[in-house]
Every structure is written in structure tokens, then in C-alpha cells.
Subunit: 324 residues, 2 copies
């Protein structure tokens, strides 16, 4: 089965799903956010994981959509917390409607995600919900750590990796695990799928951090250097502060961090030059590749034919090589 077939099935399901009728303020924002595009990576992972073991991958489409709805619920609420004006180039829900609508519509969206999960077989349902609950709580924990880090000056590399594991990777792990559970693939297989997902998830986030600094402005889609301008504590910044400790580079980096007024382009250029001097890009790429390798090794260990795993490997490689 090709990636396009899976994607088509997911998009058809999204287009035909009604979340509720009225009041419109509650349900329109859900359809709005779900229609803004995105790669649909999470639901793709779920259906692909199912298809590794069984031909009837279609039975995964609804629960896969539950994972996507959950992901978009976190975006709706995170955007309020981060006061983000734009999401995928369009106004965020709290900007287009208002903050109360974004809170309440997000709440009902989380409920909708649970409702989509009811599409799995009765015999696995409770286990799926327990795993979904754990994952959902961890995603919230990750977001809270991320917010806490913004006002802390002692964030370690390990804390950062743990934060992105919680905030973004465990949901990729769960998406894959869910696909395995629906296929009744057994405990070892679902664990390997989960580990594969969390490892490549951490790799993807490190890739995001790298692209933000070194991405090609023509291809990146967002402003290159956004994290630098906002002093976002990415892996690159934390590493630079650590290995540069006591050097002229650290002093310069701190000066840029504390600068109240600055030319954005100049700051991005200067910080990038400091990263270059400290070899941060290579170190970040090594770290990222270590997670990708670990993830791909998990997938390798999975007891299934290379042919069956092919679409998932393909998608992973696309995501590893993406430039935006």
C-alpha cells in the first residue's frame, strides 16, 4: 500500500467527520483547525503500523483520526498559552474567535478524540484508553515543562530531551503503538513500535531546532532564526551555553540573549556564527542521528517482512530528509 492511499483515506475521514452541531462557536473552530492542513503524520503512523501486520488497515482510520484530533486540541490550547497569532499561516482560534472559544472548543475537541477511540474493538478498548490517558497526561506535562523552561536559566540538555520526549515524541510513539494494538501485534511488537516512535520523534524535534537556525529560507516556510530571536531554549542554545562556558562566545551569546533592542537579522547572524564557532550544528546533527538510528533499529527488530515495513520506512526517511 502506498503512502498516498493511506493519506487519502485519512483525509476522506476528516472531511466526513462531524464533531457536533451547535452552538457553532464550539464546533466550527474544530473543523477550522482540522482543515488547515499539516502532514497528518500521526494518523499516517497509526494506519501504517496496523498495515504492517494485517491487510485490513481501514479499521485503524477512525482511531488514527482520534490521535490527530488530540494533537490539534493541544495546538489549540498551546496557541493560547503561547499567545501565538498564526498556526500554519492562518489566524489561531483564539485570534479568529476569542480566548474563551479556544478554551472551550479545545475541551470538547479532547472529548471528540476519546469518542473517535471508541472505534477500536471492545477487547482492546480499555488498554487503548489507559495508554491514551498516560500519553495525553505526558503531553500536558511536556507543555508545562516547556513553559517552565522559558523563565529558568539552569535547564540541562537531559531536561530538554525529556521535555521534547513528553511534549511531542510520546504521541508519535502512541500513534504507532495504537496501530499495533489494533492489529493485535502482541506486546513486544507494540513496544518496539512505541520506542521507534519516541526515538524518531525526539530526532524530528532536534531536526526542527536545527532547521530553525540552518534551514534554507526558500524552503523552510517559517522565518529562519525565529527561535534565536525569541531566545527559545533549544538544544542548540543549551549546548552552546554549556560547551562555551567561560569563553568569549558565551559572553557574546549572553549579551544577545539579554539585549532588549536589536536588529533581528543581525542577532540571527551573530548567534549562528557563535554556534558555528562552537561546532553546534555538527553536535546537534550527531545527537539527532543517534535518535534516528535508535528508532530505525527498533523498527528493524520488529518481526515483520521488509516489504510490510517499507511504507513506514519511506515516510520516516521523508521526514528525516525534509527541509521544512
Amino acid at each position: 500500500m502506498s503512502l498516498e492511499v493511506f493519506l487519502k483515506a485519512i483525509q476522506t475521514e476528516i472531511a466526513s467527520t462531524k464533531y457536533g452541531e451547535s452552538p457553532v462557536e464550539l464546533y466550527e473552530p474544530i473543523e477550522y483547525l482540522m482543515s488547515l492542513g499539516g502532514k497528518k503524520m500521526r494518523p499516517l503512523l497509526t494506519v501504517m503500523a496496523t498495515n504492517i501486520f494485517v491487510d485490513d488497515w481501514q479499521k485503524s482510520v477512525k482511531p488514527a483520526l482520534g490521535v490527530e484530533v488530540f494533537h490539534n486540541f493541544t495546538l489549540m490550547h498551546d496557541d493560547i498559552m503561547d499567545a501565538a497569532p498564526l498556526r500554519r499561516g492562518k489566524p489561531t482560534v483564539h485570534e479568529k474567535w476569542n480566548e474563551n472559544v479556544a478554551i472551550l472548543s479545545g475541551d470538547v475537541m479532547l472529548v471528540c478524540a476519546y469518542e473517535l477511540m471508541t472505534a477500536v474493538d471492545d477487547k482492546i478498548f480499555k488498554h487503548v484508553i489507559r495508554r491514551f490517558n498516560r500519553t495525553a497526561a505526558e503531553v500536558c506535562e511536556g507543555q508545562q515543562w516547556d513553559m517552565n523552561f522559558a523563565t529558568r536559566n539552569d535547564v540541562t540538555e537531559d531536561e530538554y530531551i525529556n521535555m521534547i520526549r513528553l511534549k511531542t515524541s510520546v504521541l508519535l510513539g502512541f500513534a504507532l503503538e495504537l496501530g499495533g494494538l489494533i492489529a493485535e501485534a502482541g506486546e513486544e511488537a507494540t513496544q518496539l513500535l512505541y520506542d521507534f516512535g519516541t526515538n524518531i520523534g525526539i530526532g524530528f524535534q532536534l531536526k526542527d531546532d536545527i532547521l530553525d537556525v540552518y534551514g534554507d529560507p526558500e524552503k523552510f516556510g517559517k522565518q529562519v532564526g525565529g527561535d534565536i530571536i525569541e531566545n527559545k531554549k533549544t538544544w542548540l542554545l543549551l549546548k552552546a551555553l554549556k560547551i562555551g562556558k567561560g569563553t568569549a562566545q558565551e559572553a557574546e551569546l549572553q549579551a544577545w540573549i539579554y539585549a532588549k533592542e536589536f536588529d533581528k537579522d543581525e542577532k540571527v547572524k551573530a548567534v549562528r556564527a557563535i554556534y558555528d564557532a562552537l561546532n553546534i550544528r555538527q553536535l546537534a546533527e550527531q545527537k539527532m542521528n543517534a535518535f534516528f538510528d535508535k528508532g530505525l533499529a527498533d523498527l528493524e527488530k520488529l518481526n515483520a517482512s521488509a516489504e510490510r515495513k517499507q511504507p513506514l520506512i519511506e515516510l520516516t526517511k521523508q521526514l528525516i530528509e525534509r527541509e521544512s
Copy 2:
């Protein structure tokens, strides 16, 4: 079994439940809000409903707590939306911490409610979750209607009753239905429990509306007249505007509604006098009693001994007769 025994079991369960460890900003607000007291009406309804049919009501305690956690999640988020400074006489979560904490801690609280629901038997679990999902979505719908009504001038009595049904009553209905489901009481019985809960729930809200205007300040606990001061579109106000239409009372009522500056006590007194002139208190009490009677008739129809239903009838009568 007496009410006190049920209440004790619920409070013991609350005291021993850990929602999560860290980050503390995420989990402390949950314990804080859960510790602020309240009547624990919803979990009581669940365990009492179970005990109508089976002796082993203890198996309902955890899922009953799930209903209470869900209820408190809605309070945490509603308080943000309503910009409420106090809840049960203590600072609200968004006041004590901040708005982002209240959003995210509320989100994880909803997840905790789902986790507590996993305590029910596998064979009823999916049905319980579907009913819980429906109820949760309706509660959000009710809150959105309530917010919409604040800026509308054409809210009808039926719309108001439907709003309070969604915002507060369906959760009481679900709490009771859940108790019946856990006891495997059968479809007819769980439907009667649900109907009983939604009917008395609407009655309770009408009681709140009446107490806000006519409560004894010594016993009420909150400021009497709060709804009048805020022009809250309660059943009493909507009814007064409708039956007073075209009279001097309507003109006076509208003047108070549109008044920008006023003495609070004077406004409360004046509006109460208008209600008196239009006989609103009696009409509201008739309406309220009709819902109580309907609810109690549902409970009457329930195929169980009077002795078994006694604690539930007792609690209901206490709540019907409460003065705060």
C-alpha cells in the same frame, strides 16, 4: 447505608488519590481545587444509585470520583472564562497561579477523569465512555450557550431551560446512570435514573436562581442578589421581561439593566420589588417544583424497594430544602 458512610468513602478516596507528580504546576491545582470542599453531590449520586441494586457499592467509588474530577475540571476552565476571582470562598486557580496553569491543569484533569473511569468492568467500559463523552460534550455546549446568552436580548425560557439542562443537569443524570450501569441495573432502570437526575438537576438550578434573589443572607453563603447586579439572564429575569412586556415594570427593569452606575443594594431591592409585583417568585417555584415532582416520579417508577431508594430520596430532599 447512610449518607455519611457514602460521603466518608468518597472523601477517603479523594484524600488518597494522586493525580500525578511533576511538574507541580500541573498537579497541585488539581489537588487544591478538589480539596476546597463542596457537597460532593455527583459522586454521592453515583454510589447511591449503585447501592439501590447491589450491596457492593464500593466498586462505584473510583468512577464516582471520576465524575467529581470532571465537574471540577469544568469549574477550573469556567472560572477562567467567567474571570471569577473566587471559588468556594478561595482564590480560583487562574488567580492563585495563572491562566496558562489553569488551562493546562484543567486539561490534564479531564484526562484524570477518564482514567478514573477505567475502574469500571471491561464489559461496560465502552458504553460508559460513550455516555461520558456525550455528557461531557453537552456540558461544554451548555457553557457555550450560557456565554452566548450574555450578549443576546432574545433568550427564551425554553432556551434557558435547555442551557441549564446541558450545563448542569446532564452530569447529575450521568452520575446516577453510571451508578446504575455499574450495578448492571438494566436499560429501563438506568434511563429512569438518568431522567431523575436531569429533572432534579434543572430543579436545583432554578432553586439557585430563586435563592440568589430570595435567599436568607445569613444562610446563603454568597452575596444575595449577585445575579441581579450582573444582569445574569436567569429564569426569573427572563420570565419578568416576558410577562411584564409593555408594562411600567418592564421599563423599570430595563432601566436597571442598562444602568451603568448604581447602588448595588438599591438595584437588588428594586429588581426584587419588580419580581414581587409580577409574582415571579411563585412562578419560579411552580416551575422548580414541577421538575422536582417529575424527577421524584421517575425515581418512584424505578423497580426497587423503598428501603433501597431511601438514602437517595433523603439526599434529594436535603438538596431540595437547602438554603444555600
